[in-house]
């Protein structure tokens, strides 16, 4: 019945058999699923919490040149400053996050339709530059440093905070001179990527030690809130969990060790008849 060996039904069934459905077939199992939902006794101090000193970071920059590193590290700290809520963009690793993103598919524009022609765009037509995101940063950073030098006589990273904010505002408002990339486009990309870096899973290099999540009280990859959702207007205080933590705790499950509020691999329960 299969017309082509590579796409045979036999291989389809084989794939299907290897896969097993997530099934919660009886109430006892359902109960087991809900059990881990109760928040554990707070190991972490109540939120907002004082932030511990963050450790030495092992990362290095793959895309940014040294002058670009100086700009981006300074800029993300102005966009997301260190304050009484905790560390800001620089210590959260946001510049490193952006560097990694620009080095990869996103930076190269591999996720975008990149063919021309590139016409004059209406605002409602969205991004229409020929530049990749990585190229926008290269040109935008150069323009920002040139603007800082021309206006205040120093490169951006060497300015005080108020002057750095003035440079950023000039790009936000589009009033800064920027010949090769629209100032607003560069600023919008920088701000959007900085926020992503602060809140994305720590495995991407920002949100170091889950500092972004701790700052706002987001529990991270979370998972099972079946019981907790019934509580009304009470804080849910847990140590946030990232993907890397949860993958470690999957191993802990196999060891029989207790888990945190993360329910992992729920669908790992297989039904023998699916395999037969």
């Amino acid at each position: 019945m299969p017309d082509r060996p590579g796409l045979s039904r036999a291989s389809f069934v084989a794939i299907g058999a290897a896969a097993t459905a997530a099934i919660v077939a009886d109430p006892n199992v359902a109960e087991a699923v809900t059990t881990p939902a109760a928040p554990v006794a707070p190991k972490a101090p109540a939120h907002p919490m004082s932030m511990p000193a963050l450790g030495e970071r092992p990362e290095a920059y793959a895309y940014f040149t040294p002058p670009e590193v100086a700009f981006v590290e300074a800029a993300v700290e102005r966009l997301i400053p260190t304050d009484h809520h905790g560390p800001g963009g620089k210590d959260a690793g946001v510049a490193y996050y952006i560097d990694q993103q620009l080095f990869g598919r996103y930076g190269r524009g591999d996720t975008m339709y990149t063919h021309g022609p590139w016409g004059a765009a209406l605002p409602t037509q969205g991004y229409q530059l020929k530049l990749t995101p990585a190229e926008v940063y290269r040109l935008g950073i150069a323009a920002a440093d040139a603007h800082a030098m021309k206006t205040y006589g120093k490169l951006f990273h060497a300015l005080d905070g108020a002057h750095q904010d003035a440079v950023l505002s000039a790009f936000e408002n589009g009033t800064a001179e920027s010949d090769q990339v629209p100032a607003k486009t560069f600023f919008g990309m920088l701000l959007g990527d900085a926020v992503q870096g602060f809140f994305a899973d720590p495995m991407y290099g920002g949100n170091r030690d889950k500092v972004g999540w701790k700052t706002i009280g987001f529990p991270g990859v979370g998972a099972v809130y079946y019981a907790a959702i019934d509580k009304r207007n009470v804080p849910y205080v847990v140590e946030p969990v990232g993907i890397a933590d949860a993958m470690k705790s999957q191993m802990a499950i196999h060891d029989g060790s207790p888990v945190d509020h993360v329910q992992t691999r729920v669908a790992g329960r297989t039904t023998p008849k699916e395999i037969a």
Binding site: H115, A200, W213, G222, A228, A246, V262, T264, A267
Partner: protein, 585 residues
């Protein structure tokens, strides 16, 4: 190029409608080939935590979505402009892969109102034709709610929808949606739990005299075995639903409802990685003979079949018809032709409510969790002095609080810096959302055709979308802003920020992937592409399934109606067409 052995039916796109087609045809004894451009995927191991709870990969980088680098659309607001490609998806994000958008949807599963199917005739009967305006091309569907009721029922029981009936055989039931059309029986499962904000909403809108009810949900509220024998898991309110796949097997999808049987079915063959280029017609142009696709190895294949089902995403269905030259393309200048005509969208008017000293914990959520009023949907309220038709389901629903996309700040807050961070920290857990998901009328100026300039990765023209907001959308949105602000106040918010539609439709901010129309159904071949069975008027062995058949959009999520229409089509195919192929209407 190879020509393969002929089969009874080929299905283009294996998502919700493709899965229903394959299931029903194989039950009737036919052999079916499913062509899916994306990859094979199933709950285990593809949807497993913790990897699937990754906001960057799924929510921002669109892991489960159509790759814009390969295939996108061009866009302009009106036909005097030059359309440019949507280089990265924003306003809407079509899905990709086995199960289609049914893998990453939120699971909100509605029946449209009886009025929605007779928009034009009932509007004229109640208000006169003047309220529609000259350019409005909204029309009746050619089918009524009552005709579709048994098929809504089938889809709801397939999915195990949780909800509360508001109209059982004409008897109104408080606590359900008292505005809904009569249903023969209740939902298969009880409603979802409510969030804290949902409780405030229920109290507030009740005080205002409205009629709140739980949003009908395909996030399963108890372990459920559906009529196909598939077992659906229990939703645990993980807060990663729309744009994500479900690790619990608890969100109704092809994988959880139909695939367990299809997988074992010797009459069904799935070919993944198969990108269909076109449907081929015979020399008369009245009969489809085969489908040509590029397989996973990059080789061109031609699969002959007696019946061909175009079952991709709504926009891609329309493009497939245009590329295959099935049906006459719409010409907006002469207002003739049908393929691409009556493209419509969805009007989302949102509001954020800001509080102090609360703990909403909106990260505990499901995609379809929520509480709704239908008091301002469809024609449930008097439009006599309003100069617009239609309305919105008005919902309190926080389907998540994933922080890259959800960190609301009150209007006037700087976008960065210390004041921004302060406000983000203060309001992250002190905010809730309201949304009026509005219907969208069809107009002469909103249509789809093939772009003259830009091609996809396979060298075929991209589809061009010409779309803007017109009278009914702007006036509806302004009306809903008032309602949202009043409800926010009744819910005790310190501040409610509701925003009406901008002047022009903007492709950048995400709004909705409820793109509808372009291959609409009807009773008149001059104004529809398919009959009420989704069958092409021009090529009667081609069926086109999905929201491409909606002549305009209702103030609801479309999937319930998409599923019901697919079952309606298959009922006619199995009981009539197979015995005697030819036009069903």
């Amino acid at each position: 190029m190879a020509t393969l052995k002929s089969v009874d039916a080929v299905v283009i796109g294996v998502g919700w409608t493709g899965g229903i087609v394959a299931t029903e045809l194989t039950k009737a004894g036919l052999n079916v080939v499913g062509l899916e451009r994306g990859m094979y995927r199933d709950t285990d191991p593809d949807f497993m935590v913790p990897q699937v709870h990754d906001e960057l990969a799924y929510g921002i980088r669109y892991k489960l979505f159509q790759d814009a680098a390969k295939e996108t659309y061009t866009f302009r607001n009106n036909s005097s402009q030059t359309a440019l490609p949507i280089r990265q998806f924003g306003s809407f994000i079509p899905g990709d892969g086995l199960g289609g958008a049914g893998v990453h949807w939120n699971g909100v599963t509605w029946r449209f109102l009886p009025w929605d199917f007779q928009t034009r005739s009932q509007t004229i009967a109640r208000y006169g034709a003047g309220i529609l305006g000259d350019d409005c091309t909204s029309q009746d569907w050619g089918i009524t709610y009552d005709q579709l009721e048994p098929f809504y029922d089938r889809f709801e029981y397939l999915c195990g929808i949780g909800g509360k009936a508001g109209n059982l055989n004409g008897k109104k039931i408080p606590g359900g949606n008292v505005f809904e059309g009569p249903r023969k029986r209740d939902y298969p499962n009880p409603p979802m739990k409510q969030q804290y904000a949902g409780e405030l909403f229920t109290k507030g809108v009740t005080e205002l005299g409205y009629h709140p009810f739980p949003q009908p949900s395909a996030n399963s509220t108890r372990p459920y075995t559906n009529p196909e024998g598939a077992q659906i898991g229990l939703c645990v309110y993980c807060g990663y639903c729309e744009r994500y796949s479900c690790e619990m097997g608890a969100k109704a999808s092809l994988q959880t409802t139909l695939l367990p049987q299809l997988r074992k079915n010797p009459r069904f063959e799935l070919r993944t990685g198969a990108h269909v280029l076109r449907v081929n017609l015979d020399s008369s142009g009245k009969r489809a003979v085969s489908v040509t696709y590029i397989d996973g190895m990059g080789q061109e294949q031609t699969q002959p079949a007696d019946m061909i089902y175009v079952a991709a995403f709504a926009l891609n269905n329309v493009r497939m018809l245009l590329l295959s030259k099935i049906g006459k393309p719409y010409d907006p200048v002469t207002n003739t032709g049908v393929v691409g005509r009556n493209y419509a969208y969805q009007v989302n008017t949102g509001a954020t409510l800001f509080y102090e000293g609360r703990h909403f914990n909106n990260f505990m959520a499901s995609g379809a969790i929520g509480t709704v009023i239908d008091d301002f949907n469809g024609d449930n309220y008097d439009h006599t002095n309003l100069d617009f038709i239609g309305g919105a389901d008005l919902a309190q629903s926080n389907s998540n609080a994933r922080p890259i996309l959800y960190h609301p700040t009150p209007p006037g807050t700087p976008k960065w810096g210390a004041a921004w961070k302060d406000a983000v920290v203060k309001y992250y857990n002190n905010s809730a959302s309201l949304n009026a998901q509005g219907g969208c009328q069809s107009y002469r100026g909103n249509y789809l055709d093939l772009d003259p300039t830009y091609n996809d990765a396979y060298g075929q023209p991209l589809m061009r979308m010409t779309m803007d907001w017109y009278k009914h959308e702007h006036k509806q949105s302004a009306f809903m802003v008032e309602k949202l602000n009043a409800i926010g106040k009744a819910m005790g918010a310190k501040q409610t920020s509701a925003a009406a539609l901008p002047e022009h439709y903007d492709i950048v901010p995400y709004q909705s992937t409820h793109n509808v129309g372009g291959a609409v159904m009807g009773s008149d071949p001059q104004t529809s592409v398919v009959n009420t069975f989704g069958q092409s008027w021009d090529v009667s062995n081609v069926f086109v399934l999905g929201a491409s058949s909606f002549p305009q959009n209702a103030g609801y999520n479309p999937t319930g109606t998409v599923g019901a229409l697919a079952y309606h089509t298959m009922d006619a195919v199995v009981n009539r067409y197979i015995k005697s192929p030819g036009p069903l209407a």
